[in-house]
Assembly symmetry: C2
Homo-oligomer: 312 residues x 2
């Protein structure tokens, strides 16, 4: 059973009387509810497990904490929301060194300070393998909430940066690379009515663009894939196509947006004024299904090659 099949089976069971306050449930980067008329809160949960998402052999434990929180903050950014606080459930093996565990919290704290959020509690339990399950809550004005399902035919496919650096780092190229969740960028894009859909690229562009297109009942054609220099070097050393390598790379945390085509150039220039680099145009949403990549002499399908979390 794949992750998507399992989610579908669980969703079928969870048909209970949804709270009227919940405005967005299972299926987007985060869920949203409305605690009061003027406010919308969003919530996202991500778990990392030893032996699956990281190894503790020679690990920088603070990186484990950083990455776990980064994945969650990226989900909140993908809604156009501002993160407020996080809770952490930590599974601790019997033989764990308390100093290693404190290092995990140092990594969490490093990113929490940068994102100006509070770590507001959680749970510590005994477990055979180390795991972290982090939940982040954020806030957004109701009109600024972005979903992944709003892309329209002819919208520009845009990304906030080059892809593949995290994968290259995990594979040993530029291991000092630290992915940064695009929080300020997400809030900025959330404020624009010309951004029709937003999500983060956590499972690879090919997978996540396919998800956005499917949720929006359209397809997409990519003109290019912006490849990070370290990913380019890594792909060439493997003899792989750098574009396909970068499109299948997870944990980049760049944002993927569907933008009104008439204003794209203006929006990208304003984005560059604010953040120092432009919003990148990489393709176009179109009628139909699936994602394709322009290639010499035509186009080729770009299959979702990112991560099914249960296949690993």
């Amino acid at each position: 059973m794949t992750e998507d099949e399992l989610i579908a089976a669980f969703s079928a069971v969870l048909c209970g009387p949804d709270s009227k306050k919940v405005v967005l449930g299972i299926g987007d980067d985060a869920a949203a509810w409305r605690p009061s008329r003027s406010h919308l809160s969003v919530i996202s949960t991500d778990a990392l497990v030893e032996g699956i998402h990281f190894t503790t052999q020679g690990a920088a434990f603070d990186q484990i904490g950083y990455r776990a929180l980064a994945a969650n903050l990226s989900d909140i950014a993908a809604m156009g929301a501002r993160p407020v606080l996080a809770t952490i459930a930590l599974g601790v093996p019997a033989g764990a060194d308390p100093l290693d565990l404190v290092e995990i919290y140092r990594g969490v704290d490093r990113l929490a300070r940068r994102a100006k959020i509070a770590i507001a509690g959680g749970d510590i339990v005994r477990s055979r393998d180390l795991f972290l399950s982090i939940t982040v809550v954020g806030e957004v004005r109701p009109g600024n909430l972005k979903r992944r399902s709003g892309a329209r035919v002819d919208d520009v496919v845009a990304v906030t940066g080059e892809l593949g650096a995290s994968r290259a780092a995990l594979e040993g190229h530029d291991p000092a690379h630290t992915p940064v969740p695009r929080i300020a960028e997400g809030i900025w894009l959330g404020r624009s009515r010309n951004v029709h859909a937003l999500m983060d690229i956590s499972d690879g562009l090919s997978t996540d663009l396919a998800r956005m297109a499917a949720a929006s009942h359209c397809g997409a054609i990519l003109d290019e894939v912006p490849v990070a220099p370290s990913a380019n070097a890594r792909a060439r050393s493997l003899g792989e196509d750098p574009r396909r390598y970068a499109a299948a790379a997870g944990e980049d945390f760049e944002l993927l947006a569907a933008v009104e085509p008439r204003v794209f150039s203006y929006l990208s220039a304003r984005f560059a004024q604010r953040f120092g680099w432009p919003l990148l145009r990489i393709g176009t949403f179109r009628a139909g299904k699936g994602v394709a990549l322009k290639d010499t002499g035509g186009e080729v399908p770009l299959e979702p090659s990112g991560w099914d979390h249960l296949a690993r």
Copy 2:
């Protein structure tokens, strides 16, 4: 290292710039923040791990889901708050039967319907052992939020029901017993200004009353421990004192309250009108430290005998 020592070490690291919106952080049943002036939101995270908190050998999988959500709902009830939604991080072993996993969600759904909350997403990851990490968000009027630190000398120590039935059930007596988080009771008690402190009894009365007393800078003397019939039978079959057996029993999810003594009888009677059974007076908060139990010919210390989650 004990759970409490580890929490202290983590808290020391997490000294970052707390969001001004966060009004209650690590150390209570749930954390609280203020999304808008008129509102307070609370959040609680609890994890259950295979082999530690439950076994999958002949397990009723729907009970695993029910219990995991119940622990969280109880934490929200302990703040005087109304639960709104939950997220679930599920760790799935490679050989897991999808039907068993769906049963877990059926158990979650059963309680979610009863509590009128939405399951609003989460994460599914591969892991060696099955685990569930559930986060619940609730809401409460700012004036109704109850902490565990508000007990005053001479306050009545009160509980919402008899103790020990969950422990007896886990040990084979009355296995059909299902603990019910006291959501309506928590909201009701949260509305009373005469309830000075509130928490849930998830780790045993002896442990949780010691926590409430310590957080409130006082001690407590117990006149009695209300013992559930199944716990009484189980303790006697073991040759143990039923009061001590019940005081060391976790997962009861009854609420523990510190109540203004002058109004206790009136409040208990109103509670009984609303819920069909009285709020039980079991002792008194007093100056000093620690918790003691009245016994024939005097009093004996009641050491925290409940669960250190890392000692198991």
